[in-house]
């Protein structure tokens, strides 16, 4: 089965018009020795067979619908309103290309403009771009923007260990041939106090996460001030759900706010595709990578939207572009836009508060179990660290026997934090589920 619509007669007419006899005549430019190789692939399936095979593969996975999940660490199990998928499945959106022809792309353009506005308002910033691949690459682009801002003259990036380990690893990869040095604090320390002494006149960027990878929240205003006193840029990696209730990084003086947009109505889908959001201040807009949609008018006097400031981009500037980025996560930006439109200010606040209250209930109950304690006494949002009486792998295995997907084993990324479990609680976790988690954890010491 293929999606090729030609009849044999049509094919032959076309070959005749072209002036060749057979299909293979079209490929004579290809070196003969390497033409028409065998492909060792399984024979074609019909749609019915493919649907069955994919269904079987899907069923071989245990999902967060089958299990009770307390796993977060950068990807969160949130409720996705039904309306989102119905919009995403409109072919007019998902089978369109990048809106380079604005006359016939106003749907995508206005949707991105609205997404930009929603993200800017949520983070408390002036302007957002049309998105990056994910949170990790948005962080890496923020570092590149800071390096470019100082034209390579400032060589130090102060990056908190509280930034997601994958984001830090990605940034290392992106900057491996750049002349910059990264400095960090010890993970157990209070981020603001520990980072301020590291900032100096050679610092291009100070980058922290909010809530941090351990779920902790603190007011970074003083850190921002210290950063600006040194003339450096201040970037906050934020969780968008938390911003439904918490003070914005914009209010704390951030020059850039970036992050992972997955919590905004995007399915977990084993790691992607997600959405990297990127915001900044008006004064830096020309330094920002990625697509931007701006408001204008058309020849008929109608308000309309169009890709703007394109001379920053690779298809115009080539090797002098701000980044090589070409695509954005258009369809995921649409999903996030629909999510925020549906929830509005009431729903966004409601989800944030549900996460906050449930996570605090869980933390309180877990801390009461003998042998378990909360690792940090800091304020937190919907994720927190538990010091366990046994290796996390053992605890997670025990939880799994009871159908519970435990938290994230922090020892994987922070060797000094072995026996530390990162637990995420969202609006999806009922009190019964939390109580079950607590009950199973209580058994651990009795084994």
């Amino acid at each position: 089965m293929t999606y090729i619509p030609h009849s044999p007669k049509e094919r032959d007419e076309m070959l005749k018009t072209i002036g060749v006899e057979k299909m293979s005549d079209l490929f004579e430019a290809i070196p003969e020795a390497h033409r028409y190789p065998d492909l060792d692939l399984p024979p074609a399936l019909t749609e019915m067979e493919a649907a069955a095979e994919l269904s079987e593969l899907a069923q071989a996975n245990e999902t967060t619908k089958d299990l009770v999940s307390f796993l977060g660490a950068g990807v969160y199990n949130h409720y996705i309103p039904a309306a989102i998928n119905h919009i995403l499945l409109r072919g007019e959106f998902y089978t369109a290309y990048t809106p380079y022809q604005p006359e016939i792309s106003q749907g995508t353009l206005q949707a991105i403009f609205e997404y930009q506005s929603l993200i800017a308002n949520l983070t408390g910033m002036d302007v957002a771009n049309a998105s990056h691949y994910d949170g990790a690459t948005a962080v890496a682009e923020a570092v590149n923007m800071a390096i470019a801002q100082f034209r390579g003259k400032r060589k130090k990036i102060v990056m908190s260990t509280g930034v997601h380990p994958h984001y830090r690893a990605t940034t290392d990869t992106y900057t491996q041939f750049a002349d910059v040095e990264f400095v960090s604090e010890e993970a157990s320390r209070n981020t603001s106090e520990a980072l301020i002494p590291l900032i100096d006149k050679n610092t291009a960027l100070v980058l922290v996460q909010y809530p941090d990878f351990f779920g902790r929240i603190c007011d970074y205003t003083k850190l921002g001030e210290a950063t600006h006193e040194a003339g450096a840029l201040f970037c906050v990696v934020a969780n968008p759900t938390a911003l439904g209730m918490l003070k914005t990084p914009g209010e704390m003086g951030a020059d850039m706010v970036v992050g992972e947009g997955q919590p905004l109505g995007i399915s977990m889908s084993y790691g992607g595709p997600y959405l990297g959001f990127f915001t900044t201040r008006n004064k830096f807009v020309r330094k920002m990578a990625g697509r931007l949609v701006g408001e204008s008018v058309d020849a008929r006097g109608q308000r309309a939207f169009v890709l703007t400031l394109t001379p920053r981009e690779q298809h115009i500037k080539r090797e002098r572009a701000t980044s090589n980025i070409c695509s954005n996560q258009g369809l995921l930006a649409l999903a996030a836009g629909v999510y925020m439109s549906l929830l509005g200010q009431t729903g966004m606040k409601q989800v944030a508060e549900l996460c906050y209250h449930k996570a605090h209930y869980a933390a309180e109950k877990i801390a009461e179990i003998p042998g378990f304690s909360l690792t940090f006494d800091s304020k937190f949002f919907h994720e927190f660290v538990v010091t366990c009486p046994k290796p996390v792998a053992e605890i997670n295995a025990h939880l799994f026997e009871h159908g519970i997907l435990g938290g994230y084993d922090l020892g994987q990324d922070y060797p000094e934090m072995a026996d530390n479990l990162l637990v995420a609680v969202t609006e999806m976790n009922s009190k019964e589920e939390i109580d079950a988690l607590v009950a199973v954890l209580s058994e651990v010491n009795h084994d």
């Binding site: 072209i18 493919a50 595709p273 006097g301 703007t308 090797e319 695509s327 997907l405």
Partner: protein, 501 residues
């Protein structure tokens, strides 16, 4: 050109969600907390949350209205060169949304995600077989991201063998902008290599630059003129002799499935665009997916992690699939394991085509392009005129119609109900019109498009204003791009007195 003179405020065709907002509306409600309230210190709270408020029906009508302003593959023919706007099968959307795929967390224990890992492993094997390479990563999020991964590996390989003075990347003048931008991002010097009169890489110019400062060369083949470089093996040889590596930009793989394997031609690295060749939808600008294949030499440098068998099959127990880090890995290039949802779609697509079906894709894509070329070449000048692959580039200009540009032809095509071809790219063709029909269009559609192109050529000479004033039949007219860049309105807000409404 169009004049932009406004006597009054612009007419709003569809309000923004901010303009549609009214205090107190809710689109989705959540349950009350079933746990005790935990007080939040005021100092941690935001002062206001200025997001719009709409009901579900408001939101649906708004986005459905917006969708009607879009042209899409589902609504019509989209011959946008270099973008491979083929039909996106509906089954792919269903399989990607199966709960067993959509509702798994990337950090779950591998024992709970064997279906997903097997799918990724199998897709890796298939993509290697189609290209002839030895190893692959699925991680890159898009073509440009794949290029970045490929070039980082090339540079790491050169450094690892002590060739630290190598800092130069050769790129043909017909290349996509991402190639030079990627090379610059990794700190390399970009040297542009001209094309010869047949649209191939100019071999003399190549030889002159092929020295011991070479990291390698990035070559799109078929190139952006839609032509298969007739000297591709010699090009690879020249670069290899100079100690460089060959990067294959797989943007145009839709012409090559089962036709030739890029590794057999001498390439060392290549990225795919799953969103072009394997029909994962373009989504209005993304997500893409750009897996990168390499030869055995470069395999240790692949980004972390890749999917592999971590415990072999034994005693009737199937193998265990897991994630491993190659020993000289360039590192991580994004969080988690890549655009998994796109892998499910591409997997479904390849499974439904098999070896013969894949070859049909490329044969019919090339047939369609050559058919349009054959019928248009007497009317539109084609500067590099030979049998093309999946696309070709014509000039959108005539000496006897001096004020007509490719842009005017593109806009006029919209009035005929078509998405225009790519224009002004590649840069080496004046007033370029780059036409890529793909294999999923039937002869009737192609004939209607060709007739429109011939009719527009006639109009260009007889009634040029029809082109200058186009489009007229679209929901919007030409945009004032200068105003957009000057005013720089990139964001909207709720009105100042919103709460008093």
């Amino acid at each position: 050109m169009t004049e932009f003179k406004l006597d009054s405020a612009p007419k709003v065709v569809e309000p923004t969600i901010y303009e549609l907002s009214s205090p107190g509306r809710i689109g989705v409600d959540f349950p009350d907390p079933d746990v005790p309230h935990n007080n939040v210190p005021d100092s941690l709270l935001r002062a206001e949350l200025p997001l719009p408020e709409l009901s579900e029906v408001d939101v649906i009508r708004h986005f459905v209205k917006l969708s009607t302003f879009n042209y899409s593959v589902d609504s019509g023919y989209y011959p946008l060169g270099s973008c491979t706007m083929k039909y996106n099968p509906k089954i792919n959307e269903d399989t990607a949304r199966l709960s067993g795929f959509a509702n798994i967390h990337p950090l779950q224990p591998i024992e709970t995600t064997q279906g997903a890992l097997l799918l990724m492993y199998q897709l890796q094997e298939w993509l290697k077989e189609i290209s002839g390479f030895d190893a692959i990563t699925l991680q890159p999020a898009a073509g440009a991201h794949g290029e970045f991964v490929g070039v980082l590996m090339m540079r790491s390989y050169q450094e690892e063998r002590g060739e630290t003075k190598r800092n130069k990347m050769l790129i043909p003048d017909s290349a996509h902008g991402t190639n030079p931008a990627t090379s610059a991002m990794t700190g390399l010097k970009v040297i542009q290599i001209p094309s010869d009169e047949r649209g191939n890489v100019d071999l003399d110019a190549l030889r002159a630059e092929a020295d011991d400062t070479l990291v390698g060369m990035m070559l799109t083949n078929p190139n952006t003129l839609g032509l298969f470089d007739e000297n591709v093996e010699e090009i690879c040889q020249i670069v290899h002799d100079a100690g460089g590596l060959m990067y294959g930009d797989g943007a145009n793989m839709n012409a090559m499935l089962g036709i030739t394997k890029m590794a057999d031609l001498g390439f060392d690295v290549m990225h795919y665009n799953l969103h072009k060749t394997f029909s994962t939808p373009h989504g209005g600008g993304g997500p893409g997916s750009g897996p990168v294949c390499v030869t055995e030499t470069l395999a240790p440098f692949l980004p972390a992690p890749v999917v592999d068998i971590v415990e072999e099959e034994a005693d009737g127990i199937p193998p265990l699939y897991g994630l491993i880090n190659p020993n000289k890995t360039i590192g991580r290039v994004k969080a988690f394991h890549g655009h998994f949802g796109m892998f499910v779609r591409a997997f479904t697509y390849i499974a439904m085509h098999g070896p013969d079906g894949l070859r049909d894709i490329s044969e019919y894509a090339v047939l369609n392009a050559n058919y349009i070329l054959a019928r248009l070449r007497d009317t539109y000048h084609v500067p590099y005129d030979r049998i093309c692959m999946h696309e070709f580039v014509a000039e959108g200009r005539w000496k006897d119609a001096p004020d007509i540009h490719a842009l005017d032809i593109a806009k006029r095509l919209m009035d005929y109900g078509f998405h225009p071809p790519t224009n002004y790219f590649p840069l080496i063709v004046h007033e370029a019109l780059m036409i890529e029909p793909t294999e999923t269009e039937n002869k009737d559609t192609l004939d209607t498009f060709i007739d429109a192109m011939l009719s527009i050529a006639k109009e260009a000479h007889e009634e040029p204003d029809l082109l200058h004033n186009a489009p007229q039949s679209t929901p919007f007219g030409r945009l004032d791009e200068v105003k957009a860049a000057k005013d720089l309105i990139l964001c909207c807000w709720l009105p100042e007195n919103y709460d008093e409404q």
